[in-house]
């Protein structure tokens, strides 16, 4: 990895090159790539012949997506009873899957909006793919509550429009808030994603080799000309979109958590839910971003754009949010004890926690769902702790393994919250265990196929890295940057922002990776 070399010019001999190297951050794009390389690399993915691995990945994903659609067709034509939920567990895998997928989407918005506002320039090479992931995850999420209503043809009752019965929605219900939150989230994510895509679609238009491509990309590029009179409006719009997406993404999972927190069910009725859900969403989302990006980075040769630094930073975010989630798990349990509410204590100890290996601590019978609770605990709280080690964060296999644990753990978290709380609540006479049917299983596993198929199609037809943004963070994009051997006006004293005489030099780009 060739770092940007720093030279000290004669008048500033007091700058020790080693010191300058230490205070200079590693480059966002390694190997000193230029603008044209970025264009070629990213557009090349779209323009190349479809590689064999793409078909190998796409075919099973599409089959799985087909199973998902088949399961839903069977469900709609037969009735929602083909799913396993029944009294007392009326919300089961469907709502678990909904919360799971919607949470995954949150990392995309965090990367594109919150990291934009906080000027984290490293986001530029992952934001496009992460935003696409957001959209596909929200599509998967939206299927479940839509079908959970049972009679799908009545789903329009969710929308406040006048109807023959003169019935209106209850605007004070969290379930209706959800309709607005998820609907807005999806729409705003599409807008944000599309606005980001416009300049890159123009690149693909200008490079198109046949008229079909030129027409298709040109249509969606809207005639973009890259004029600064356009960029200034564009940048302002992008900034505002980032600004409104930030509270939006926090509100969406907050409102999802209200579905539970505003009820009186022990295990759901908790004020810690909104921040806990948001942290969990970001946690699970980053794991999914890495799950997709690590193979994509390798298969598409994007090592110079998605560098080890990116992986390292994302692993740190997983560690942080995972620890917040762990704190929330423990705090819930503490409050159950501290409140001395017997129902709350029951929900935690007797429904979730007490396991064969906790006998030494709590002398109570095993909880019916202890395996789910402890799967969640070990995947979400214990496994990310390995990221305290820098070596673990640098080992992509370890990172990938932890991400897979987190993906599984976050699904278990929602299962634990939803199913265990209502399986055994106030009345022992109405207790019951939940078990999924085959329709539950194919509609859940099939959603991964749907998600992956959409993501693979995205990689094939759209620029998966925001070219214009990556070019904007290259050193040569700085209007005060001057290449070596080129005397900058004013004595070159503003090349690095380090003061007199320090000048950045860029060796010629190497051809390999």
């Amino acid at each position: 990895m060739a770092d940007t070399a720093i030279e000290t010019a004669p008048p500033a001999a007091q700058f020790d090159p080693e010191m300058v190297r230490q205070i200079t951050k590693p480059p966002l794009v390694t190997n000193n790539r230029d603008f044209h390389w970025v264009t070629e690399k990213v557009s090349g993915i779209v323009e190349m012949k479809t590689p064999m691995w793409w078909w190998i990945a796409f075919f099973p994903a599409a089959v799985l997506a087909g199973c998902c659609i088949g399961g839903f067709v069977y469900l709609i034509s037969t009735g929602v009873g083909v799913w396993g939920q029944n009294s007392p567990v009326m919300w089961a895998w469907d709502i678990t899957n909904f919360v799971f997928w919607i949470g995954i989407g949150h990392a995309g918005t965090l990367i594109s909006a919150i990291l934009f506002l906080t000027r984290q320039k490293w986001r530029t090479s992952i934001n496009r793919a992460a935003e696409a992931m957001t959209l596909f995850a929200v599509i998967c999420a939206g299927l479940y509550p839509g079908l959970h209503v049972g009679r799908l043809w009545m789903a329009w009752y969710l929308v406040p429009v006048g109807n023959a019965n003169a019935i209106w929605q209850n605007f004070r219900s969290p379930l209706l808030w959800d309709v607005f939150a998820v609907g807005t989230y999806f729409t705003v994510s599409v807008i944000f994603w599309y606005v980001g895509l416009i300049p890159d679609l123009a690149t693909l238009r200008d490079r198109a080799t046949n008229s079909v491509k030129r027409f298709a990309y040109g249509l969606f590029a809207l005639g973009w000309r890259g004029g600064n009179r356009q960029w200034r409006n564009y940048e302002k719009a992008y900034l505002i979109l980032a600004g409104i997406s930030t509270p939006l993404v926090l509100s969406v999972h907050t409102i999802v958590s209200f579905d539970f927190a505003t009820s009186i069910v022990p295990g759901w009725h908790t004020t810690i839910f909104p921040p806990y859900f948001v942290a969990g969403a970001i946690f699970g989302g980053f794991a999914m971003v890495l799950t997709l990006m690590l193979p994509a980075r390798h298969l598409l040769g994007l090592q110079d754009l998605i560098t080890k630094k990116h992986v390292d930073v994302m692993a740190k975010i997983i560690l942080l949010t995972g620890s917040i989630v762990g704190y929330a798990y423990i705090m819930e349990f503490f409050i159950a004890w501290y409140s001395q509410n017997p129902f709350e204590q029951w929900a935690f100890l007797r429904n979730r926690i007490s396991a064969p290996f906790t006998k030494w601590m709590f002398d109570v019978p095993d909880a019916p769902y202890w395996w789910a609770y402890w799967a969640m605990m070990s995947c979400n709280v214990i496994s990310p702790q390995i990221f305290w080690s820098k070596r673990a964060r640098a080992n992509l296999w370890i990172v990938f393994a932890v991400c897979m644990c987190v993906n599984a753990g976050m699904w278990f978290e929602r299962f634990v919250i939803i199913v265990t709380s209502i399986a055994n609540d106030f009345l022992p006479g109405s207790w019951g265990m939940y078990s999924p049917t085959w329709v539950d299983i194919i509609t859940f596993t099939g959603s991964f196929g749907l998600f992956l198929s959409l993501f693979l199609l995205f990689c094939r037809f759209l620029p998966m890295i925001a070219m214009s943004e990556v070019k904007g963070v290259l050193p040569a994009a700085d209007p005060h940057f001057h290449p070596p051997g080129h005397d900058a006006p004013g004595g070159g004293d503003h090349s690095t922002g380090l003061g007199g005489g320090v000048r950045m030099t860029t060796p010629a780009p190497s051809t390999g990776h």
């Binding site: 929605q169 969290p174 807005t184 729409t187 005639g223 890259g226 600064n228 009179r229 209007p479 001057h482």
Partner: protein, 196 residues
């Protein structure tokens, strides 16, 4: 550096060129830094109808071109306010007037407003996002799929790695030869006359 004036003329005859309306002159600069300094000189020279075309937004170019703040924020703000008002009406008209429904034992009057906040917030954000998108497109006069600049065969490189500057013929200071000389003087390359 090219010092000849290339004429873009698809028909290939000068007679046709004479009746074609001139859109303006476009030129190329070798780097973001060069374009930045060229823009400062264009601004100081007093041009009004001109633009720079770059693969990415260049930091500080608004000042270099002497442009003020973008109006997108105003449009977004008004769209957001519209959203708030619409959401208030959407919630209160049915909940208080058309279909009063007592739930959670809450009163029907305005004091239950916290329960109405989530929808108000979401709808405000939704309208603001639409305001941003359509405001940005309207201010940029997009979509416009055809533009004289696309007649220049080099122009497609703006979305790759080229830095262009274009001065429109409608600019009060525009004079074909003088503007060309000016661009040459500030270090432009591939100075080209663009026809509509």
């Amino acid at each position: 550096m090219s010092d000849t004036l290339t004429v873009t003329n698809p028909a290939g005859t000068s007679a046709v060129a004479a009746v074609q309306r001139t859109f303006g002159i476009a030129a190329e600069f070798s780097s973001a830094a060069d374009l930045y300094h060229a823009a400062e000189k264009c601004r100081d020279h007093g041009f009004k109808k001109w633009d720079v075309h770059t693969p990415f937004p260049i930091h500080g170019m608004d000042e270099a071109m002497g442009l003020g703040n973008s109006k997108v924020s105003l449009i977004a703000l008004s769209a957001a306010c519209t959203g708030t008002v619409l959401a208030l009406m959407l919630e209160f008209i049915p909940s208080i007037w058309l279909y009063p429904l007592v739930v959670h034992g809450k009163p029907l009057n305005f004091f239950t407003v916290p329960a109405f906040f989530p929808v108000i917030f979401e709808f405000t954000v939704l309208c603001c996002a639409f305001g941003c998108l359509f405001g940005m497109l309207a201010l940029n006069r997009l979509p416009r799929w055809n533009h004289p600049l696309f007649n220049w065969e080099r122009f497609g490189k703006f979305s790759d790695d080229a830095f262009f500057l274009s001065i429109e013929a409608d600019d009060p200071k525009f004079q074909e030869t003088r503007t060309k000389d000016f661009l040459e003087g500030i270090g432009a390359k591939n100075i080209t006359l663009i026809y509509e």
